[in-house]
Amino acid sequence: MRLNICNGTQKFMLNKIEFLLHLADNALIIGHRSSEWCAHGPVLEQDIAISNIALDYIGQARNFYQYAALRLNELPPESSVFNLPATEDTLAYLRDANDFKNHLITELPNGDWAFTTLRIFFFSSYQYFLYQQLIQHEDAQIAAIAEKSLKEVTYHLRWSSDWVIRLGDGTTESYQRMNTAINALWPYTQELFQENNFLQPAKNILAQIQIDWNEKIKNVFEEAGLPLPEKSIQHKGGTQGFHTEHLPIILTEMQLLQRAYPNCEW
């Protein structure tokens, strides 16, 4: 979606909308991945747990999309070339991959249970510290969504930390698989702290989130007996719409019906 900039107030609002879409896209895409486990989990209780987490993510995405749509619909029509009126569904189902602003880490395929739980651990640690900042956001609606989501994320973080520890300190095989997952995922972690022009609150907050995040990872890895990875290549671009090959495939699947049968109620 290209948003044409008009004046100062609108520019401020457009930034906020892009930020909301970024938060929503992150939640939707990792929610999509988590939902792929439903009916295929390693044990029934965990099938239920990860489906629950997927539901939380989709709920967060809906809250952010709904609020973004509300704000978008208040803008003068000429400031947006996007289908108006916007709804949570036009935003999720009718944007192309290069409009999506999610971090790359959310779109990678699930891999095995080690990869899946480690991804959720990395990502929910990030969300945990981010939402703690957002509950103080000057926009009361953002603050409210963050507060509600923070409760869920706190659980995701505990659940995924437990799995990282359990697999790190489980069997030789689970330790090795966790190691493989660390090496595969680490190159997608630093994008989480990369500055971008729409990110609110103030940019220096990301630096603080990164410090807290590093501390959290260090502690959990220590308990799991897992090594912290060396510096590695870092991939980025998701927030600017430069994605991996996986995102267009996710969207093709997800958007199928909305694209094939336009303007329908479901």
Binding site: C38, D47, G59, E173, L256, L257, W266
Partner: protein, 308 residues
Amino acid sequence: MQNQQDVLFQNKVDKEIRIEPKDWMPEKYRQTLIRQISQHAHSEIIGMLPEGNWITRAPSLRRKAILLAKVQDEAGHGLYLYSAAETLGISRDEMYHQLHTGKAKYSSIFNYPTLSWADMGVIGWLVDGAAIMNQVPLCRSSYGPYARAMVRVCKEESFHQRQGFDILYTLGKGSEAQRKMAQDAINRWWWPSIMMFGPKDDESPNSIQSMKWKIKRFSNDELRQKFIDVCAEQVKVLGFTLPDKDLKWNETRKHYDFGEINWDEFWQVIQGNGPCNKERLEARKKAWTDGEWVRDAATAYAAKNKAA
């Protein structure tokens, strides 16, 4: 030959006194229940597959959330039911083993493919609907843990049926293409749904004993008729038709007459020759095999931390 214990047991059942895990029960009663409850549990778990299929393709975020919650409920039902079966002295692993080796059966309905979004509507409306019809009487099963599990299950099933009906209702009010999609799904699922009540009464050998033990309260044909009567009315509200040219209200019987069920297809699917028998079982086996190292790691971790 009837011994004292058998007589006492039957007296309790006749007086509607619940049988609990520690109570004495005839071995045949235990075995029948294990078979029935584990079959039911497997059906919940296998049943997650055809619908789980469409979670990533749900056409709106609201529908996605509802479908995901629904499929997750089915996992919960599986869990309650496996726990109920475990009170009879069989482990969940053993029941899985029976499922994976083909020894245990599950509801044949899940061996049919889900080919469009409308199938999510029809499964909710017809499949969950038939399940409710079958299961509400089980809330009064003579076996306590099963009856209690069924009370929880049935509450959620009625929400499942409503969301399915709602999907179809929305499609019915939609475009020509949506209406076509829905009618096609109804056409494919109708006959398999009414087969869910099992063979005709005169070909259902276990039924009489099960009725006497009150682990079954109505006959297959009674429940099937009741279901058909309800659906024949509901389909009018939806604005669709059921694919049975013989479906007609019979004023004398005060029931709908219906056409001949294809029993050959019914037995074929039970014997493993349905359209998706192989895929469904393979998917469950794969989840179980792929998960083995995870379960092993969890066990190893728990053992270490207990020791520490």
